[in-house]
């Protein structure tokens, strides 16, 4: 019934390949089916002005899509002269979600910037970015711990994200692009490995939904997050 032939509660194939670029303090290519996102982590000693001297760390994120990551070519944002509303919204979400899983005291007064660049898009890019973003954040932190610059692990519980939606009247896990463009209701669910919620964004375009439906999607999301966290732990050796 789903265009891909998947079961309602079936994720796409997940793979996370680390060490894909040599300069970054952490890097991976995360592939959720045909959605491919390159994530890198950069460690810097400076922090934003509003926490200078606080001893707390900061994690921030930026997001972009290569112009031809999509079916038809998108205008390059650097050319357009600004990041679009969707881009800004997504990168704020990535940063906020990852920060929720960080012990900023343990991280110490430094900033880690997570760059998420979509190489190929097929739905769910922001969820893939968060999931892959946590992996490269972890890799960067492991480097800091190995060097003795951080002594207590600030990342004890993974952060992962998955989208679910109501497609053709049925709750489905991990929407791909053909489903996403048809679904009247879809949500992004960001959770920790222990299934604590970090962010729920569930919206209807031109329709509405009930609390029951919301709970069905949350059940599916928990299942998806289990699979994603397993891949994260495998990739980081954690």
């Amino acid at each position: 019934m789903r265009p891909s032939g998947r079961e309602l509660s079936e994720m796409r194939t997940v793979s996370i390949e680390t060490g894909v670029t040599k300069h970054a303090e952490g890097s991976c290519m995360i592939r959720i089916g045909d959605t491919h996102v390159l994530c890198t982590a950069t460690i810097e000693d400076r922090v934003p002005p509003f926490i200078k001297g606080s001893g707390l760390g900061w994690v921030t994120a930026e997001y972009g899509m290569l112009p031809r990551s999509t079916t038809s070519r998108m205008r390059r944002e650097a050319q357009a002269g600004k990041q679009g509303g969707r881009t800004v919204e997504i990168q704020r979400l990535i940063g906020r979600s990852l920060r929720a899983g960080v012990d900023r005291v343990a991280l110490g007064e430094r900033q880690i910037t997570i760059d998420c660049d979509v190489i190929q898009a097929d739905g769910g890019t922001r969820c893939a970015a968060i999931t892959g973003g946590w992996v490269v954040l972890k890799l960067a932190v492991q480097k800091l711990m190995k060097a003795g610059e951080v002594t207590s692990d600030p990342l004890t519980d993974p952060v992962a994200a998955v989208s679910c939606g109501i497609y053709a009247g049925q709750p489905v896990l991990d929407l791909d692009y053909p489903e996403d463009s048809e679904a009247g209701v879809d949500g992004n669910f960001i959770m920790t490995g222990s299934k604590r919620l970090i962010e729920v964004q569930m919206s209807a375009e031109g329709s509405t939904y009930s609390r029951d439906q919301m709970n069905q999607l949350l059940d599916l999301a928990e299942k998806g997050v289990d699979e994603l966290v397993a891949a994260q732990l495998a990739a980081t050796g954690a």
Copy 2:
């Protein structure tokens, strides 16, 4: 226990004054406690290119804050040369939420733009903007119906929004600014008058939450929306 002395499930005073500017097709000043937002509706015959010729209507929104609507002066966005990320995120939410409650076939091929400008801010400006935005949308539609340009009411169920959060460990309704700046978890809940969900955005900054806590906030939100819808109906004579 709340800074304002309110009960955990107590809304601030709600008032909606209509007809506050003479040029707009609909206007109101919505006041939720000390949060004051001026909303106007503008009807135009043109629609965005992607629905031209479809017969469907469109509702869009823009949001702004006057520089001194806040405790300390904010930089004017027109001066800065662009709308910030938070502004873009909010105005997309307002437009999406209001569209979910509109029968776009009944509206017919025209666009209604909702402008929401914060005159004074004390927490919950986006929720006030959605709630007031629906009022001026309704007023504009009433004008179209009186003129016979629209014959079947495209707005049968009001759309309202309220924020709830976990403050000092307790679930509270309708966060004001002192609460909002301290709450580790807060959510915006957009619903129809019949309590169907349109959008849930619930996020944690530097912490996490459980599904139980989420359900407690949803219960509070339903209570708040009842009060807001009553004020909307009174203001529009609907």
Copy 3:
């Protein structure tokens, strides 16, 4: 003969309501007929680089129009990505005019920013902004004097502004929008309460005028300023 039925030398009704927002150090809504401008004053300890260390104070202004303050909706300048030429011209005029009436030594090394936002426009917004701007400047200074931070009053003579023009061949006081859009010659006259001139801007679009006509408009302007100053003094208790 005037569209509004007013006498040639008759002002519209003037009202100034103070204390309209709780955060600003001074605030008012000035209404000149159907032109309504919200003015706020913000006191800051920093001054622009070019007077740092001089002991002198600074007054600056910004101006904006809400998108639907006008008959048809204007594009939001924050959206357009810059302030238009007219906006820039007006806010420079407001700042310059108010500074002319300030004893900058008495003010001391601090900056007061006057924000003037047009809620509803019906001609003469820049004059209303200057007149209301002086009121909130005065309120802010009164707060500084009460707190003992300023000891000698830097604002001894009010600053007010009115527009006059040649409409249908006749000199008229206080142009409203229907007159303004027809007048071949119009001027903005900024004066002190003692009728000293601060700025005269009198221009013809597609025509010219004589020195006699200029003097007739100046006579009318003096009459208008008397009424405005009375309202300013009443509003500030000065």
Copy 4:
């Protein structure tokens, strides 16, 4: 008593050299003392959208300063990414002033763009730009008349501009930079050859002035305009 040793009512030397660039439909270098402005006129068949089909012509102007036209180097506006407030204000003034002296019916539905670029600045650049701008406008119109595209002269009365101010307590004609930077009151006076007024902009920075002083400056300005118009007529053979 004046830094330059000039009499109170003495203009600087005025020269207008035409035909200084080969591409423009009209060009001149106007020199008012050490202030040198290159003016060009460009004729185009298109007009702005708001007068399309009206049969009326349009005149518009742009203004710029070369980075090292001033004592210390100014930042290039193309580099800064926008025209500053002062630039915008000046080019709007030039366009408005020149249009006041044009019979737009006689000009016919075409646009003439006047570019005024300051090569060397020593005070009074906007007045030089208006005065030189009229010269190149006239040259362009003469070309149109010679070609038979315009049959009735739309420019019957020259437009010229001069600044006057109160320097060291005395009314002086044609302020140069050392005077301009010290003058508490200065004005720009734009008139026709027959001494009809087009625009008066007289402002005080940090002081005020009386109507008597205003009239003294107007008297001086009339004298200056006589000299400028003589130079304009000589340059255009009119």
Copy 5:
């Protein structure tokens, strides 16, 4: 003697992997040592206005670097609000170089956009982009020919690029980043497979060079281009 231990006339390892993204009409990852550039081709039916109706085709290019493709993180250009001077210069060069090798009549009135995004940088990114850009251009054209939309091959001679420079006093082929940052003279040589020149850009930073040295670098470049063209032909099966 070279940091990498290569011979003076030794290229880095070249590999070109095609079909790396599913949406583009042509795609490849070109790797020249540690320099990795993702190239995609997009076919569109529209052409730029200046050749509309001419029957001629157009090829254009855009270039970008992922923020962490470099040793230390670069600011994202979409964030900065514009493409930097270096980016603009490079993408103009890529487009110009590829167009030189295209029979634009044979291509027909369509546009092919080549996007070159640097995934990892280690010197020579613009040359890799041109070399990989020709590969994806060829793949897109092969698709058009297979579909019968283009009948005569517009790409008969490959276009490839290599950098050479004078490093430690010696002419060397294919500079990597450590060499590039030290070389006083370096050049980019763009040629066809038959060794016709398309563009030579050879510049000295803080020094000069002789015609003899220029000829030595050209000799090296011809050798490098031979290797690159072999890889291009293998990748495209041409």
Copy 6:
């Protein structure tokens, strides 16, 4: 055979007039036929951050065209809100070329900014800008040496530039606009007075060229540079 009737190896008339503006530390108007560029040099004590404290000097350049320097009016870049790709490319070339001829140790830790503004364009503006740029750089340095601020001449060998191309199948020296717009191959050759090369940029638009042709153009360029250097030495009394 050339549109201008010149011999294949004949330069246009070259003239360099110095001292054309009074504020700059060096200024000239360079005229290469109908191409006229105004060059100024500005000395500043500050240097870019990346060489602060190094004791080295810096030379940088900016380039602009007056809107009506060209046959049809170009849009003013300050109005467009950014410098176009061509402008950026040219000003980077000018700066790089001039720096190659400067002993930055002898110059000492100061910056000289060369502004090149095209007053009238007829092909070869970038070459004229470099040639005139060296003249004003020399004039500024002479002023520093006269004042004893620089003791050893940092400019011992002039830098000049000329364009050559293949026009109607023949190699020609110093392309004017009619030739430039037709030439399939053209190059810019920047050299010192002793004929050492600084930069060669030779590109084909829609065609290719051989090494022989390249050498023919280099021969012509050497001849042209001899004439330009003679004019530079005459203008600077060097």
